[in-house]
């Protein structure tokens, strides 16, 4: 496998980063970077850490980073997570208020502990409304990995607060079975993109076809998170197998929530380099974040409507005349 850190790789230009990702030869990992400047979204770091977890340390080769921004990668724990000596020396300091270095979460207890530690790391103790939103997103996304991904190494997560845009960027990656295999347990999904579309619809879960889900799964987590991103006019990326769905930024006067993700302003593709597992990236701009309670009300309305619509559709099955 080969990963190239370009000059810039954020959710807006994520496609460019993916196109240079080479998943062939999964037993080795070669990492290189733009020599002049490298600036990336935490989701890129989570992805590389997840890839590294699948490869023996002596099969990972990492080019010496020359760019002045190389210290960022050291601070975010990239080289440590890959067991690679970077040769970069920085003064370690308390990360509170700036970022969450790459963390691996392998079980429910690990997630609970992480959720406690996360808010101080992002300096959100004095901002309970945003803390709720961020905590909610991380909990739902990581639980998805722990419950559905069947990933030996759990979830890799990294996050960063970006002062200039007043945004918290979060990335979560796993090398599990991917969305299609999970969804296919209950629904037909001919392509990875079909599976992503279904996974983002309210009330669709791979664990059952029954409306209302199972006793443990409702199929609502990703729909809630996409809805949070929609209302806050932020990017949201879901990448699994060869498909990627990207929710694009919206205008303030067009924040309608849709049950079908293809009705949202988005870009999508089904021919990206194959990612064995699932990757989620999301930005949460703190200036525009809507009150969480109000947001839940809106999400609830769409969710209920989607369930009703599917029931109506089921009731209206036409007789077959032969």
């Amino acid at each position: 496998m080969k990963v190239y850190f370009p000059n810039s790789a954020f959710l807006g230009n994520f496609d460019g980063f993916l196109k240079r990702f080479d998943p062939t030869n999964p037993e080795i990992l070669e990492i290189s970077a733009n020599p002049l400047w490298v600036s990336v979204h935490p989701v890129v770091l989570a992805m590389v850490a997840a890839l590294g977890s699948r490869v023996k340390p002596d099969k990972i080769s990492c080019e010496v980073f020359e760019a002045p921004s190389k210290n960022y990668f050291e601070r975010m724990g990239l080289f440590k997570s890959l067991c690679v000596k970077s040769g970069i020396h920085i003064n370690e300091h308390d990360p509170a208020g700036r970022f969450i270095p790459i963390v691996q979460i392998k079980d429910s207890d690990g997630l609970e502990k992480f959720l406690e530690d996360m808010i101080p790391l992002l300096h959100l103790q004095e901002d309970p409304e945003h803390a709720k939103t961020i905590r909610y997103i991380v909990s739902e996304l990581v639980r998805n990995v722990l419950e559905h991904a069947r990933s030996r190494d759990g979830a890799f997560l990294a996050a960063q607060y970006h002062e200039k845009s007043n945004t918290i960027r979060i990335g979560i990656a796993d090398c599990g079975v991917g969305i299609r295999e999970t969804i296919m347990q209950s629904y037909s999904a001919p392509t990875d993109l079909d599976a992503i579309r279904l996974a983002l619809m309210p009330g669709i879960t791979g664990t059952t076809k029954k409306e209302g889900g199972t006793e443990q799964n409702a199929g609502a987590g990703l729909f809630f998170i996409k809805s949070i991103a929609t209302r806050n006019r932020n990017f949201f990326v879901l990448y699994s197998g060869g498909a990627m769905y990207k929710l694009l930024k919206r205008k303030p006067d067009d924040l309608t929530l849709s049950a079908d993700p293809f009705n949202d302003r988005h870009s999508r593709g089904n021919e990206f380099p194959y990612w064995q597992g699932t990757v989620v990236g999301i930005d949460i701009t703190l200036d525009t974040t809507e009150g969480f309670t109000r947001l839940l009300g809106l999400i609830g309305e769409i969710y209920e409507e989607a369930v009703k619509e599917r029931r109506r559709a089921r009731k209206n099955i036409q007789p077959k005349f032969i």
Binding site: L115, S139, G212, E215, Q216, A218, G300, Y303
Partner: protein, 96 residues
């Protein structure tokens, strides 16, 4: 009426679905089966995920029907927790 203090089981952020299941299976269902009502006390729980609330109560709708809401009271819920309980109750009744 049996009262269950959620804070003691799940802390101030109710998100652990495994714990929700434990509470449902070990505490809620046996009480309902014996005809006893339940008070779910959310005092001190300032937030919950939809997944947690689903794991806590959705199966009760399947087992006991919508009438289960006559047997359960939700005490001291924050506005946010109320919304999530409302969402799960609505879609479970809609799912029938």
């Amino acid at each position: 009426m049996k009262e269950i203090k959620l804070l003691d089981h799940v802390g101030s952020f109710a998100e652990n679905k495994d714990k929700a299941r434990q509470i449902r299976v070990q505490l809620i269902i046996p009480s309902l089966e014996s005809g006893e009502g339940i008070i779910l006390d959310f005092t001190g729980v300032d937030a919950a995920t939809q997944s947690f609330v689903h794991a806590l109560i959705s199966d009760l709708f399947r087992k006991f029907g919508s009438e289960v809401l006559d047997k359960i009271s939700f005490k001291n819920c924050s506005e946010e927790v109320k919304k999530i309980i409302g969402i799960v109750s609505d879609y479970m009744q809609e799912a029938g």
